[in-house]
Symmetry: C2
DNA sequence: CCCGACACTGAGCAAGCGCTTAGCGTGCGG
DNA sequence: CCGCACGCTAAGCGCTTGCTCAGTGTCGGG
């Protein structure tokens, strides 16, 4: 049982998010695209610190300390603390959007695609809850132009979900009176996983993904499976 | 059409939350229990500031300024900034718990009670989204003992929802495979309203409450109405 | 007309913040 | 073996933070 659904006609090069460390916490491999090494260590430290205490409560000294460096080292790789948050937010949202789009563009019925979407989107929010928490809840700490950029990415996620629901309604699979409202509720439900998920909890990310996929299919009235 | 469901056998003295200002924002009347007047003005100012910028990004000077007072005046009525947050959090959670319990203890079928619960709980999170945002998302800013106290209140909310769902399953009204998981998802869905709700949005708090109540009834498989 | 109680202010303290700068060690091209 | 570019640190600058404290104006009782 693989964690994240492997879609048949997905992208060419897929970094399997669930491989490597099964525990979920030390998601260093997920930031492979960040170079050089010291910059990545700082970024991972920042993700942990931001998720734990929030952006404003985190000091640059704390971030540098977690990365095993002096406070000044941070400013060799990042112009400001806000730039660090932006890099994290950008990469995280790119990843979340890709997960959603891959599911939306995969084959099968609308119900199958929505199931895959919720399953992997929720799975990511649980497995990478540290990243997801920063990405989803520290948006207001970004500067205006950076925030606008991220909001644009979120619109893409929104559109993908609305698309799947609309398709299902068109094909008679779903029965939903308020498509924009239900879209909002579905995404809202998925995102909030990042707030409450704890590593020692009763459920694995995959289990939560499966549970939520079922609940969402009920929300859209997918009675006939 | 009244905003918050008026349960027939509810409590004796009910402060109608939706009365007074229809706009929703200046919820000064909701804090009538806070005295003296200056203490309440400071608390309302703190709610606005915390909701807007977050607890850590808010300065005591900002709070005092919004209340039209000097920074030092804050410390006549509150020992620390954290005590202010605690008072807000305590009152807000008391209110949220009461809303949930009133619905759970009201008469009728499990579906009717769950409908009322989600409708009013969500309605409150939308109408009082400023308060709700602080109450639901600034929990980590509280000191350990204050946080523990609030978490205890949340357990009560959780229990009320689980109770209603369990009753529905017992009576054959609902069909849910995972009661604790579904309980969690329902509360999660409701709480996240406070994150995304904006006053200028397309829907009123009552409309969102109605939409969400319908979605939740689908989640628990309440097919036979 | 005085007096103390009271709610509040102006000024400011110690600590901690984001960020800068001068300098140091190390490794690599010549 | 030199020299310099590079990644990093120690020290610290200017500012803001939560919070304090010596007053100040006001007001009711005697």
């Amino acid at each position: 049982m693989s964690a994240v659904e492997r879609d048949p006609e997905g992208s060419d090069e897929v970094v399997d998010e669930s491989a490597g460390e099964a525990a979920g916490e030390p998601d260093d491999a997920a930031w492979a695209e960040v170079t050089p090494d010291a910059a990545r260590r700082l970024l991972v430290a920042a993700v942990d610190a931001f998720a734990e205490r929030g952006y404003h409560a985190t000091t640059t000294r704390d971030i540098a300390g977690r990365a095993g460096m002096s406070p000044a080292a941070l400013y060799i790789h990042y112009k400001t603390k806000e730039e660090l948050l932006h890099r994290i937010s950008r990469i995280g949202h790119d990843r979340a959007l890709k997960i959603m789009r891959d599911a939306a563009d995969s084959g099968g019925t609308a119900a199958e695609r929505l199931d895959r979407a919720v399953r992997s989107f929720v799975g990511w929010h649980a497995l990478r809850h540290t990243t997801a928490r920063v990405v989803q809840y520290e948006l207001d700490a970004l500067g205006p132009e950076h925030r606008a950029e991220i909001i644009e990415l979120r619109r893409g996620t929104d559109a993908a979900v609305r698309e799947m629901i609309s398709d299902g309604v068109r094909d008679g699979e779903f029965e939903v009176p308020d498509i924009p409202g239900t879209t909002l509720a579905v995404i809202s439900l998925c995102i909030d996983v990042a707030r409450w998920f704890k590593v020692g909890g009763a459920r694995t990310p995959e289990e939560i993904g499966a549970l939520y996929a079922g609940l969402v299919l009920r929300m859209v009235g997918a009675g006939e499976k």
